[in-house]
Amino acid sequence: MQGNDHSIVRAVLAGDKEAYGALVRAHSATVFRVAFRITGNEADAEEIVQEAFLRGYQRLESYEQRSAFGTWIYRIAVNCALNRVSKPGIEAEYRHGEDTDPADKSVQVATPDADPERVLLSREISAVQETAMQRLTPTEKCAFVLRHIEDRSMSEIAEVLEIAPNAAKQAVFRAVQKLRRELAPLRGNA
């Protein structure tokens, strides 16, 4: 796959624009996934996918073929997402442990039964988690998502966020501390 990606990149740089389509088709879902996890917003994630592949195309000449194209475009997407959540006025809409219905913004709690008490508790947990995530700084939020959900190593996180490995580690530590502190009241309910 990696070798194939490299030959596609060479073809694109040689003037075959259409070849880039194969890379977009192969990596769109992964890019969408990480963008959504960082922004927590479907529309923002869709835009980040477009932006990442557009930037990737424009910078294709600087792509060093030592790394896989998937890893490279992933980094670009994380940076786009970080910029997005860092923009003033744009608040990420986090919905934890639940699906949101974009049509009516209603909450569909992921519980198999419709026990009203559980639904209520689940909503309460989601709301507290949402608030806790919003209190993290963009760097902490990004570092935490990459470590906790995307299972990326500290060195990968540092590389993606372009910070020192220790700074990445400290960002994860702070995020964990803050989240645990914010979610402490829920542990009594559990």
């Binding site: 740089l13 040689a14 003037g15 075959d16 624009k17 880039y20 389509g21 977009v24 088709r25 192969a26 769109s28 879902a29 969408f32 996934r33 959504f36 479907e42 996918v49 477009q50 592949f53 557009l54 195309y57 294709l60 000449e61 970080l82 959540v85 860092s86 003033p88 006025g89 744009i90 986090y94 919905r95 934890h96 442990g97 639940e98 699906d99 949101t100 995530m133 700084t137 963009p138 906790h148 190593s153 500290m154 910070i163 020192a164 220790n166 700074a167 580690k169 400290q170 960002a171 994860v172 530590f173 964990v176 501390q177 989240l179 645990r180 979610l183 402490a184 829920l186 542990r187 559990a190």
Partner: protein
Amino acid sequence: MKHLTEDEFTELYYSEGGSAANAHLKACRECSRRYDEFTRSLEQIQLATVPLRGADYGERVWETLRPQLIPYEKKRTGWLGWAGWRGRASWKTAAIAVGCAMVLAAAVLGGRYWERSTKKVSIAQSPQATQRVVLVVLSDHLDRTERLLVQVEHSESPDPTENAQLQSEAQELLASNRLYRVTASNTGDAALAGALDRLEGVLAEIANNPNLTAGDLKRVRNDMNTKGILFEIRILHARSQDQGTKGATI
């Protein structure tokens, strides 16, 4: 017996902990109990389920993206490439190219002459002069970061313009700080590399924060011990100034 900290639990949880922490966890009942509680609390955190994309999602992205892309120009190589270029080039282009080549040749010859005439001096001055330049530049960087940290320490201002200036300064310093940290690390200056590393965390927090408020700065002060970092930077600043003065008198 020293019990494990929450940061050490975090490292263990993400499989980045050392063997000593692992061994302690096995031996200490108290830490083992706290770690179980810690693990449960982290497992509780679940982000939103990623909305499903259809199998044709990549195709849809490509269809939207395609019209915005301009094809790369084909690279021409070898004699045929040169012939193709020659065929299209105008006399004006050729004249500019010849002019550039002459300027380049003059620069190379002039450079060689200058290098011969100044070689002795530059060899004699090179290491100390370079060191002085490095110290002056580093000292300037430390001076700027010191001022920024002092501002952070005393910032209570609700004025967004003032905070925006602080943020823009942090963004500038972040890029240069990264270079100094890497250089210090490569040259084995652990004290400087460590301090710059901690400083980088603070700069990143300020630089990447949307709508930086006095409350955010207070949080940075509390969470990241900016007072301690400011102290370290002052010592390093004094050290670099001292080295610079000594270097100048040699």
